[in-house]
């Protein structure tokens, strides 16, 4: 399975568009973390930064997230499902409608099964339970496999 992950020239000259085979791990790029829990954003940021991701922005609400993603056009948006103003699915829909090219990865303290039906149809790359967030897990998901 082949997936195009990083658009040309976004993260600097060294990173060309490349094809990534599923068995390989995608190379980290830019990331926006959306979660209303500040301490959690901090922990996620530390963990993924350690894995090589560049955290370019953080948002605590759906509205702020839409604004931020439009301005920064990150490679990946790590998006909490439960937000104070709208849920993550609504944010994903709005981003898709706005033509965003960022890959959206939903995350939640709930399990995948709790959103079973909606995950099927949402314009997102995948779902990652919060406690399973790590550099390798995110890369695997982006490469096309659910962890």
């Amino acid at each position: 399975m082949v997936a195009r992950v990083f658009p040309l020239g976004r993260s600097g000259a060294a990173e060309q568009t490349e094809t990534v085979i599923a068995t390989l791990q995608a190379r980290p790029g830019t990331l926006v973390v959306v979660d209303d829990h500040a301490r959690f954003r901090e922990a996620v940021g530390e963990r993924l930064a350690a894995a090589g991701w560049r955290i370019v922005g953080e948002a605590a609400t759906g509205a702020a997230a839409i604004d931020l993603v439009a301005r920064l056009a990150p490679d990946v948006v790590l998006l909490d499902v439960v937000l104070p103003d709208m849920d993550g699915f609504a944010v994903a829909d709005r981003l898709a409608a706005a033509g965003s090219a960022s890959a959206v990865v939903l995350t939640s303290g709930h399990e995948r099964g709790d959103f079973a039906g909606r995950l099927q149809s949402a314009p997102v790359r995948g779902f990652l339970p919060k406690e399973m967030i790590s550099g390798p897990a995110l890369a695997t998901l982006l490469a096309g496999d659910q962890p």
């Binding site: 829990h37 301490r39 530390e46 099964g113 959103f115 079973a116």
Partner: protein, 588 residues
């Protein structure tokens, strides 16, 4: 007037009327008329006289028998008797002057009837004065007039009578003119008074009395015109036609009285019907229906006074407003001076005060019973509502606790798990780390994962997130997947109110848990589908059956919760025939 005397008078009038009619037909009436005139007179005789007298007599008897109208009946009968008198006098000539004397009593009698109907007495001073003048005129002046008449002037017959006479045509003519003028004046005054009474009445009362008043007005007008016609010289034919017309108009009075009596009787029978209806259909709803039909007001409502809450409630026990809407009126019903109920009805009913009073009196006991039932219903309604509120509050509380757990402690644990995972990663990456440290970090990582898992289970038990997010169908799929036996599901994808979805979910969850624990079943089936305004949930297994009718304590609690929402949970579990648990949940 004693009853026997009235009955005797009425019977006498009837006999006279019959004899009169027979004689008039066989002998010819009056015998001095020429043939063509007699033909005109025939219409008068048959159409007028017989019917007229019979009608007055009948109306008199009927009115007399309607107890409150005995005065009216007496007057009516008297009019019948007096109008018969001149016919009798034609055969018994000795009566002629007497008949001429009291014959005119018809007008004061009729006036008294109209001014006293239906209240028996004439209250107004003016009305009494006019009546007194009318009686005085007839009894005194007319009597004097007859003293001066030469009867042969009127009736060319050999008259023998005991009436004292003077035979002075000049005085007679003067008195006769005076009589006619007085007739017109008094008649006009009565006409005005009757019209005034009609104008002052209103609504249903006016409608009930209309026939008699219109007939009375027409009759008095006709009698005045008849009298005025006496000034003009008419041909015999004209005279007969005029007499016939006047007679026919006079007929309208007894007919109108009978119509009025029928109306009164109808309102009496309304009360009788009410008593029967109250006996047949007790309870607040039956009382309201019975009162509405007895009073002829389908919009009628009954508000019962609840002394405990110092407020009004309707038949269903819910709070009710006893203030009448525009065009409505409220009638308070008391028992021993204490408020009992308020009838809210059409304001037109106020004009039928006697009917309203009779109906209220007949219904008072039933109203007291209905009030007790309404009070009971009010308490039940209160209990039912508070039970539903408690269950809803409980469910809302569970949702809130689940959310708080998820948003609070769980988020912190999740952040912590990431941090510890990082520590673990870093320790693993740095060479020469104490292996104990790595092991401890891994242990902490596992513990936190376990804690997160337990917390998640706890939240799911409180209120499954999938139910809020995805609805009943997805939530039941999750349950089915976790069950230790094959479970087929057929769940309507529609969304229902949160309380209904939560209750349905917990019923299914508990039922599936029971299947796994007790049923020894090989498979189970879960269905949930809308049926009108209800959600029907059913869990069926093919196990050993024989579950206790009220289920285990878990199911009893669920049955209570279902009942609190106004639903019903039933368990069918014949030994060896599997178990079916079915709950109907109202969604309104």
């Amino acid at each position: 007037m004693p009853r026997w005397a009235a009955i005797a008078a009425i019977a006498g009038a009837g006999v006279f009327a019959a004899v009169d009619a027979v004689l008039e037909h066989s002998v010819g009436y009056p015998w001095y008329l020429s043939i063509p005139d007699a033909l005109v007179g025939f219409a008068y005789i048959t159409g007028g006289v017989v019917a007229f007298r019979a009608a007055y007599a009948t109306a008199g008897v009927v009115a007399f028998r309607a107890r409150r109208l005995d005065r009216t009946g007496t007057l009516m009968t008297a009019i019948g008797v007096i109008t018969n008198l001149d016919s009798v006098a034609l055969y018994v000539h000795a009566l002629l002057p007497y008949a001429a004397w009291v014959g005119n009593l018809t007008v004061p009698l009729l006036a008294q009837l109209l001014l006293s109907y239906p209240s028996r007495v004439v209250r107004s001073r003016l009305e009494r004065a006019v009546l007194a003048a009318a009686y005085l005129q007839v009894l005194v002046v007319n009597g004097a007039r007859e003293v001066f008449v030469n009867l042969h002037h009127y009736y060319p017959c050999p008259c023998v009578h005991s009436f004292p006479t003077v035979h002075d045509p000049a005085v007679f003519r003067a008195l006769e003119t005076e009589s006619r003028i007085a007739y017109v004046v008094i008649g006009g005054a009565v006409l005005a008074l009757v019209f005034r009474r009609w104008q002052r009445s209103s609504g249903p009362a006016r409608r009930a009395l209309n026939p008699l008043w219109f007939a009375g007005l027409a009759t008095i007008t006709a009698l005045i015109l008849d009298d005025v016609a006496g000034f003009v010289r008419l041909t015999t034919v004209q005279n007969n036609v005029e007499s016939a017309v006047v007679s026919v108009i006079q007929l309208s009075v007894p007919v109108a009285l009978l119509i009025g009596l029928v109306r009164i009787r109808q309102s009496r029978s309304a009360v009788a019907d009410l008593v029967l209806a109250l006996d047949r259909t007790p309870g607040p709803a039956g009382v309201r229906q019975a009162l509405a039909s007895a009073l002829g007001d389908p919009s009628l409502t009954v508000c019962y006074w609840e002394p405990e809450n110092q407020s009004f409630v309707g038949a269903d026990g819910r709070p009710a407003d006893p203030r009448p809407p525009p065009g409505g009126a409220a009638t308070e019903v008391t028992t021993d001076g204490a408020p009992l109920a308020v009838l809210v009805h059409d304001s037109e009913l106020l004009d039928q005060r006697p009917l309203l009073d009779a109906v209220v009196a007949a219904a008072r006991l039933a109203l007291e019973n209905a009030r007790l039932q309404a009070a009971l219903a009010a308490q039940l309604e209160e209990v039912r509502a508070s039970r539903a509120r408690i269950v809803q509050a409980g469910l809302a509380q569970r949702r809130k606790v689940e959310r708080d757990l998820h948003d609070g402690a769980q988020q912190r644990l999740l952040a912590l798990s990431l941090t510890i995972a990082m520590i673990s990663d870093k320790l693993a990456a740095s060479p020469g780390t104490d292996p104990d440290l790595t092991r401890l970090a891994d242990t902490a990582c596992g513990e936190i994962s376990a804690a997160i898992g337990e917390l998640r289970e706890l939240g799911r038990g409180l209120h499954p997130a999938v139910l809020t997010n995805e609805g009943l169908a997805a939530a039941v799929e999750t349950l089915a997947a976790l069950a230790p036996l094959p479970v087929t599901t057929r769940i309507s994808p529609a969304r229902y109110p949160p309380t209904v979805e939560a209750t349905a979910y917990f019923v299914i969850s508990e039922a599936l848990a029971n299947v796994a624990r007790h049923a020894r079943a090989s498979k189970a089936e879960v269905t949930a589908c809308g049926d009108g305004d209800r959600l029907i949930v059913e869990v069926r297994d093919d196990g050993i059956g024989g579950a206790p009718a009220r289920g285990g304590s878990g199911l009893t609690g669920l049955a209570d919760r279902v009942a609190a929402l106004g639903g019903r949970l039933t368990i069918t579990s014949p030994p060896g025939g599997g178990t079916t648990i079915r709950a109907g949940l109202p969604c309104a």
